[in-house]
Amino acid sequence: MCMIDKHREYSVPPRRSRMLAVASLLVLGVGALGWARADAPDLATQAFAQRLAIGVCGTCHGPHGNSGQPKFPRLAGQNGNYLVAQLKNFRGQTRGDPDAIGYMWGMAAELDDPTIEALAKYYSSQQPLPGRTGDPALAARGREIYEHGIESEGVPACSSCHGADGHGVADFPRLASQRSQYILKQLASFQSNMRNVAVMHGVAQNLRLNEMQAVATYLEGQP
């Protein structure tokens, strides 16, 4: 059994843990992998982040990041870089959609960089569960928009950045199996600039509500 203390000293683990961490990295030869950067979380921080994810974040996002509540986004399998950026945006209070302000500004306020990295690593390595499939006609319309955009309204294809399968590309987030309510609210926030992301504002500014709903419905049903 592991105990959770959100504010324990996790950035400087005990000597034994540090030695174990170094030894593990050497034995496993993971130094060449992407996560073994200078600021990558050590093993103690990873273990702490896992306990944090299950015991604190999990109340809303589910213990493995497969949120059971439509209000809260699914984090399982999400792009790690995207998660790091968002957690830092929450911490810096630069992401301004309503739920970010109401929930995540507080939750991320005291997270340090290694913990953010470790949380991102934890969630990005979780297996996303299938989302709910919605109305077939709406999902078909959403697929059309996702794959081809709406040329007459200047809406580009979502797939060009988020990937044909919606699994995300580079720093662009995974959208497949994401909660449709969450996607809908984010698109609305991009459109209104409450969540101020220039690229997504450009994408969403001409989307109508029913078009947003269609895209969100399609994406939640994607594996």
């Binding site: 324990r8 109340t59 059971g68 209000k71």
Partner: protein, 473 residues
């Protein structure tokens, strides 16, 4: 009013019940929001009703903190201190106006007359809270209250908690903790149990019925209890503990000190009173449902009621077993709650029967409450609630009006039966400010619908409007 001796119920019932029924509902306090940096809606639909996140926050001991901390650690990284740079203090104010359907008799002179109808409470209540983290895994919800009926400041609800979380195989969480509190069910996580159940605020200038079960607030602020609990996977909850009398303002008649309690004190728990609670909560999509059982076994020594008696010998025993249910639907736009509880109490009145304070050696009492609440965007909403208390007729416990007395808080037929409805409309201009209009309607009161006290008062005469301004900062 439940007391160890029946005539205490009859003589002091209304006054004490007022304090019980208007025992300030502890509520969402803004210090929690300051501590977590999270909006009220994370933990509440509308205060004081908790969401699932709020229940987990409470079970975890109120310690989730996202503020910079003043720390001290040993060379081995042991935490010695974690103090938030802002103390978790809050102030709450309730100001109210109560209008009875029919004014009460005026006892100030022998001449017939009625008391002024329409009572302003300004404030009805003012509370200071310490609500938040004290140390790692140790937090408190502690309330100090000024009330206009007593005109004094006194200790109100207190819930001190130690809690921690274990991660079990399969990544299931297990929250475990201890709570030291002064009101059975104040520590509970659901709003279907008495301490945080509807109505969340009541008039202290209206008339309340005579009968109430022990676990239904009667012991509040009069006991100290230590209970331990487990909350598995944020769904299965179990708690057991013991309560002992912890009288406020009581002194030993010999020494004048705060104790030990003696026969000049009323209704002292013999030994300790066990309390237990099990509940299961299931969450899916925007819904959650909880089903639970709780109870207590309280043995009360009459002591000073009706006359000073040594704290030994026969006692009155109250065995309470209750069921509760709570359903919530929570979306950004709509918040719907259906909740209720039924408390059944078996009374073994050895002490009261021996002193002829009760008419029967055993009685029973059942209280049922059921309510549904709707809010639109946490801004405007209302609650409709039904309440009922039924039980054995006992002319000792629920005494008739004595010749020449004004009645009102008596029962002509010795029955405790009371039932009625409460309707409430609320508007929240801000999430920490609630404006309420509440109407309570009695179909039956102390055993009767008409002339329930034998001197002409009807149940509906006790219907009341209650207007409330309630805010906290």
């Amino acid at each position: 009013m439940k007391s160890g001796a029946g005539n205490t119920r009859a003589l002091c019932g209304a006054a004490l019940l007022l304090s019980v029924l208007t025992a300030p509902a502890a509520l969402a306090v803004p210090s929690f929001a300051r501590q977590t940096g999270m909006a009220c809606e994370a933990c509440h639909t509308v205060y004081p009703e908790l969401t699932h996140f709020g229940r987990v926050f409470k079970a975890n001991g109120y310690v989730l903190a996202n503020l910079k901390q003043v720390r001290d650690v040993t060379a081995k990284k042991e935490q010695l201190l974690e103090l938030a740079q802002t103390p978790p203090l809050s102030i709450m104010v309730q100001a109210s106006y109560t209008q009875l359907s029919t004014a009460l008799p005026d006892l100030s002179s022998g001449a017939p007359g009625v008391a002024q109808n329409g009572t302003a409470g300004f404030p009805q209540q003012l509370s200071l809270f310490y609500a938040g983290k004290i140390a790692p895994h140790f937090g408190a919800f502690a309330q100090l209250t000024y009330a206009n009926d007593s005109g004094t400041i006194s200790m109100d609800n207190v819930d001190l908690r130690f809690a921690d979380t274990a991660i079990l195989p399969g990544d299931r969480s297990l929250i475990y903790g201890l709570t030291l509190n002064n009101n059975p069910t104040v520590q509970d996580l659901w709003n279907s149990t008495p301490a945080f159940g509807f109505p969340y605020a009541s008039s202290n200038a209206a008339v309340s019925p005579l009968a109430g079960t022990e676990i239904d607030g009667t012991l509040g602020q009069d006991v100290a209890g230590l209970t331990g609990y487990l909350f598995w996977n944020e769904s299965l909850y179990a708690e057991v503990g013991l309560y002992r009398s912890a009288k406020q303002g009581a002194t030993n008649s010999l020494t004048g000190a705060a104790g030990p309690l003696d026969g000049t004190i009323s209704n002292v728990i013999q030994g300790v009173a066990p309390y237990w609670r099990v509940a299961y909560e299931h969450n899916w999509e925007r819904h959650s449902i909880e089903l639970g059982l709780y109870g207590a076994d309280v043995k009360l020594l009459p002591g000073a009621s009706p006359a000073p008696t040594a704290l030994r010998g026969p006692f009155n025993r109250f065995k309470d077993v209750a069921e509760d249910i709570q359903y919530q639907y929570i979306s950004d736009d709509h918040q719907i709650t259906v909740a209720g509880t039924r408390i059944h109490e078996n009374l073994s009145l050895d002490a009261s029967f021996a002193s002829m304070a009760s008419a029967n050696p055993t009685d029973s009492l059942t209280t049922t409450r059921l309510w549904t609440t709707y809010y639109y965007r946490r801004k405007i909403g209302g609650t409709l609630g039904y309440f009922s208390t039924t039980g054995s007729s006992d002319a000792g416990l629920y005494a008739p009006t004595a010749p020449g007395d004004p009645g009102v808080i008596t029962s002509a037929n010795g029955s405790p039966d009371t039932r009625g409805w409460i309707a409430e409309v609320n508007y929240l201009p801000w999430l920490n400010t609630k404006l309420s209009a509440q109407y309570i309607s009695y179909n039956k009161f102390n055993g009767g619908s008409s002339n329930y006290d034998g001197v002409g008062r009807n149940a509906s005469d006790n219907n009341a409007w209650y207007l409330l301004v309630w805010f906290a900062y």
